[in-house]
């Protein structure tokens, strides 16, 4: 870049051959792109939900209206049967696919070598390691991993691109994360909600967060996305919801606005 700017400054007449035989051309190749979209995960006492829109964008273009972002990990390649962990990836889609495939292989190898399925907590730690291994050329994605923990409670882990992770009740990621996350803070963790009439000013008692029932959570997810679609151009087309319970994994699609 700098060399081009220098050249521009020295330019007097537009001869194409006289100048700058010295100076090495810099790498102009940027290996990342942003494919937009948004994801979101919420847990309950006996379930976990991961959801994402199915739009793929590059700039102002819509590449496709049907590119799912939530994947079953460790199951059959085509049907996903036998999986007990789900992963959502949003950001640079090519890195997302590569990351998904690596984690899927790891979980399968674990099962072949140990004769038992990988626990969600073990998988969560492994995913962090995979991401951190590429600390200086990161997978440009925000990942969310979900499943059921050893007690059968919903487990959800969220990651940054270089592998920092944390278990949470809910998390929004991707293009519309800044629109969805405050809504979730309020509706799932009851932030800024107080018990009416419990006191005046600082004496007001905050509403205690508690696990929500599945139907309520499904409603929150759909509301979060229909609202995000209104205000973010990279979000839309279809909503993919993957629900994991002790009965197995259920996957449903709902239409979103396509504008």
């Amino acid at each position: 870049m700098t060399s081009l700017m220098d050249h521009q400054a020295r330019e007097t007449v537009g001869y194409s051959f006289s100048e700058s035989t010295a100076g090495v051309k810099q790498h102009g190749f940027y290996p990342y792109t942003d494919n937009g979209g948004s994801t979101l995960g919420i847990t309950g006492s006996d379930f976990a939900i991961l959801a994402g829109d199915t739009r793929s964008t590059s700039g102002y273009n819509i590449n496709s209206r049907m590119v799912p972002k939530v994947f079953k990990i460790g199951g059959d390649d085509e049907t996903g049967e036998g999986a007990n962990i789900i992963l959502s990836v949003v950001g640079f889609a090519a890195d997302g696919t590569a990351l998904k495939e690596r984690l899927d292989t790891v979980v399968k190898m674990y099962k072949y070598q140990h004769g038992k399925p990988m626990s969600v907590s073990a998988c969560a730690q492994r995913l962090s390691t995979i991401l951190y291994q590429k600390r200086f050329f990161p997978y440009y994605v925000h990942a969310i991993l979900a499943g059921l923990d050893e007690e059968g409670k919903g487990a959800l882990y969220s990651y940054d691109p270089v592998g920092s992770y944390e278990r949470e009740q809910c998390r929004a990621a991707g293009a519309a994360a800044s629109l969805i996350m405050p809504f979730l803070d309020n509706q799932v963790n009851f932030k800024n909600q107080y018990i009416p009439g419990s006191g005046e000013g600082h004496a007001l008692v905050a509403k205690k967060p508690e696990p929500l029932p599945l139907e309520t959570v499904k409603g929150l997810v759909r509301d979060a996305f229909t609202s995000a679609v209104e205000r973010h151009i990279e979000v839309g087309d279809n909503l993919q919801m993957v629900i994991i319970t002790k009965a197995g994994i259920e996957e449903v699609y709902h239409p979103l606005k396509k504008d």
Binding site: E11, V13, F17, K25, F29, Y32, R65, M66, V67, F92
Partner: protein, 260 residues
């Protein structure tokens, strides 16, 4: 016209920007492709009942120079898949050699070439992703057309970053701006591909190529079109765009030196 004969006959700096002299660099360290040289423009593709149609024009440009006007940018793989290449032509030829060697190796195996378009697309996407991860990209955006493992029509895209996506109709480059809206209007999402005939699909592609020829300055009215069905691949590589109407051109005024 100015008073410097050295600039006469060159693209104007104030319009096109200064010439980038680094293209003429003959010394220095080993470099990777950091920008494409000879390029092909859009590829357009659409699925229809029982197959897929794919089209490109036959131009390979060197910057703004229309360098080669008979470039075949649709490459056949096996007997059920076609790849349409946009972007760098030398990288296309490299990939074509790569695919050719796979095809030959598969055909020598006991089971024959059983790789379908979906397998081919997965492979190409991985090649692109590997090369971008080495900071040595293959500067292409391709569409792969054919059939998937279940025998259903398959159309998918892969680019130099390894990004992949699939849709009932796709276009690369300028086509993503000009052809996709035409295709989305002709074949709306609620219309299943089973209701699209081969003729409709081919006509739509011709219409797209015509609009691209009108407005994409790096395009040509000679084109190639491939129709992939269960019966085989019907590839035509020396077609001429018909029914052009340049009536609209008369109304376009006010560009360049023209002032009236």
């Amino acid at each position: 016209m100015d008073h410097f004969p050295g600039t006469w006959g060159r693209p104007r700096n104030d319009v096109y920007g200064a010439y980038d002299p680094s293209y003429l660099q003959s010394t220095g360290p080993k470099t990777h492709t950091t920008s494409p040289a000879v390029t092909g423009t859009s590829v357009v593709g659409v699925k229809f009942n029982g197959g897929v149609a794919l089209a490109t024009d036959n131009l390979a440009s060197y910057g703004s120079l229309a360098r080669f006007t008979d470039t075949k940018r649709l490459r056949v793989f096996g007997d059920q898949a076609v790849v349409g290449f946009g972007g760098d032509v030398s990288d296309m030829q490299y990939l074509d050699r790569l695919l050719e060697s796979i095809d030959i190796r598969e055909n020598y195996s006991s089971h024959g070439n059983m790789l379908n378009a979906k397998n081919l697309h997965t492979y190409l996407a991985k090649v692109f992703y590997k090369r971008r991860s080495e900071f040595n990209p293959l500067w292409n955006h391709v569409l792969v057309a054919g059939f998937d493992g279940e025998g259903k029509p398959f159309l998918s895209s892969a680019d130099l970053l390894g990004t992949t996506f699939s849709a009932p109709h796709l276009a690369t480059g300028f086509g993503a701006h000009l052809a996709v809206p035409i295709l989305r209007r002709l074949f709306p999402e609620e219309k299943p591909i089973e209701e699209i005939s081969r003729e409709e699909a081919v006509d739509a592609l011709k219409q797209c190529l015509k609009v691209l020829f009108y407005r994409d300055a790096r395009s040509l009215d000679k084109y190639s079109i491939a129709v992939i069905t269960k019966e085989g691949i019907d590839l035509k590589e020396d077609e001429q765009l018909e029914g052009q109407s340049w009536a609209f051109a008369e109304r376009i005024k006010g560009y360049g030196a023209q002032t009236v």
